[in-house]
């Protein structure tokens, strides 16, 4: 059984079709990259996977650990081990980063039949995870993302991921807006979490991140459809040629179906 199987996924928002027939299979231990031009549907795919209900799945299915996710609420997906690192992490004033994470982790542990972590154990656990993303301890006690710089927000997402320990992590343009140092820190954090039991779906607009997080498979999403899949060398090809030559391909495919 594959960890994630997306079959012929069609997604609309307010009657506009954004994804039109995505097929994608991810196995445990793999890193898949999804690249594509702006507006190709990358972020939509990420949010649909996490269960955002402003998008309507009109056709197809998403199987996670063999289970259909159609009816699963976002929190149920999270508790089953799916994590989305947001492209634009949300600021939550008044809610402390560390206490929020404790509540989230305990909700997940409870779902898994594990005991809730007490304050001491949690703090030790969290400190260990913080070192993965070289996060300043001061950010722990601040409200979630409030007043964080762009880089701090992205690092905080990877930190949340490390704490919540998902089996599938979807990173939605976690590299965008990061300088090279911050990019390396984020990539190191991700690499240190790579394991047999965990898979990553790395969504990015640029090839650069993939120099640091080396993917097993690269997919190109254009106009809501995966038009090409290949090894890590595909990313380099895209860097050279841009997306133009594949956009023509997408139109051909649509025409062929019509």
């Amino acid at each position: 059984m594959s960890l994630l199987e997306i079959k012929n996924l069609h997604v609309s928002v307010e009657d506009a079709e954004i994804l039109n027939g995505v097929d994608l299979t991810v196995e445990k231990g793999q890193v898949h990259a999804i690249m594509g031009p702006n507006g190709s549907g990358k972020s939509t795919l990420a949010q649909v996977l996490a269960g955002r209900d402003t998008y309507e799945v009109t056709q197809g299915e998403i199987l996670f650990k063999g289970e259909d996710l159609a009816e699963a609420a976002p929190e149920e997906r999270a508790r089953e081990g799916l994590f989305l690192a947001f492209q634009y992490p949300v600021e939550i004033p008044g809610v402390s980063n560390v206490y929020f994470l404790k509540a989230a982790l305990n909700a997940i542990r409870k779902h898994r039949g594990q005991e809730e972590m007490d304050a001491m154990d949690f703090l030790n656990y969290v400190r260990e995870k913080m070192s993965l993303v070289k996060m300043d301890e001061a950010l722990l006690n601040r409200p979630v993302n409030e007043g964080f710089s762009g880089g701090e927000k992205k690092r905080n997402e990877i930190f949340h991921m490390a704490v919540l320990d998902p089996v599938l992590a979807v990173l939605d343009e976690t590299d965008s807006g990061l300088d090279i140092d911050a990019l390396k820190i984020v990539a190191d954090g991700v690499n240190s979490l790579r394991s047999e039991g965990r898979a990553f779906l790395v969504i990015t607009h640029y090839q650069r991140l993939l120099n640091y997080i080396v993917p097993d498979v690269v997919h190109v999403l254009v106009d809501g459809k995966i038009v090409r899949s290949g090894g890590k060398e595909l990313a380099l090809e895209l860097e050279d040629k841009g997306y133009g030559w594949l956009e023509g391909k997408a139109k051909e495919q649509v025409a062929a179906h019509a």
Partner: protein, 458 residues
Amino acid sequence: MPEVASSVSTKRPAVDPRAPYREAFERVSCSRAEHEPGRIGSLRSEAIGRFEELGFPTKRLEEWRSTDVRPIAQSSITFEASAGLVTESDVADYRYPDTCELVLVNGVYRPELSRLADLPEGVVVSSLVEAWSEHPDLVEPHLGCHAKFESHAFVALNTALHENGVFVFVPRGVVVETPIHVLHIGRGAAQAVASFPRNLFVAEESSQCRVIEQYATAEASQTAGSTFVAPVTEIILAPSAVVDHYKLQRESTDAFHMATFQIYLERASNFTSQSISWGGGLVRNDVNAVLAGEGCEATLNGLYMVEGRQLVDNHMRVDHVAAHCDSHELFKGILEGHARAIFSGRIFVHKGAQKTDAKQTNRNLLLSPTALVNSNPQLEIFADDVRCTHGSTVGQLDELAVFYLRSRGIGEEAAKSLLTYAFAADIVQRIKDKSVRRDLEEFLFRRLPRGEVVRQAV
């Protein structure tokens, strides 16, 4: 459509609603006459006369357009305070440790329930009645000099009918570190029990103090009958005085609460107030600050959280009379059910009040489609070198933020509660008094669904 409580009756009252107040006036003015100077007696007479002319406000008046007080006018009223029925067990939950605590029950001072503390020499904290007999020279120059009854029926009623309240006097240069806690307990009856507490707080030059006013309902009577309390608090800050004030309004939803809070600031004084309302069925707070001397600063913040058919109306007026004064107002509201909130904020910059810096913000969070907010900021500026800003918003929870929290494994209800708490947090965090802050936090944890998750996450 009924505007306020379900108890609104369409039947016309059989008698003039003003009649019981006239009778009460005869009794009170008689009993108080020998204890108070002639000026107060005359003031009482003028005020009852003015109330008879004004009657209860109607929705035809601009200032009362959205707040229908017919439920008060049409309630049968008793002035029988039954204060003796309230005992220690009714008060215990509302006590604040390490304060100088004065307890009034339905407007009647209860020394045996009060817990006075040792305070620095010269500081007076007592019932108003006691202050008239012990320190008339300190009360006389101020009482009734600031809260204007000419155009406000409830201030007129209070001025005419008040029997007791709390008097605080802090002499020049004295810093009172122990907070002064004025605890008003209401105990309802079949008829609405009316009371008109009158408070006077005087902070002399360069003095400092903290005052907490709490309005609560005796536990035993939370479902038994209503109360009608119309307090007037006058507070005077002499030059360079610093006063930190809290008001916590947490009465039962059967309560009518029509309060006026009048603040007078002299040169370089600093006043801060946090007004928290979650109780009462029909609640009005008129808050008027007069910045009379140069260089003073007034901060008037508030939080209201109402549900069901509660109505809360915060009516603010800040008068910038002198130059170089700052005022900051931040009021936030959370509404559920069919609740209704009104925020009216008027900033009046007088001619000559140059370099005024006035800021006013009102933000509202609607948690149900049937809740309603009227927010009405108003600026009147008669000086030409000032900075005045105002803003008001009414919105719902941010769908993306809810999704963000849920994507981390937090359930939907808990996510919404967390965001609601977060909305309130910038008022919660401004509360320096630990007891008030703890009470507000506990209330939010109790009120918000899945509050235990919120408690863990903040």
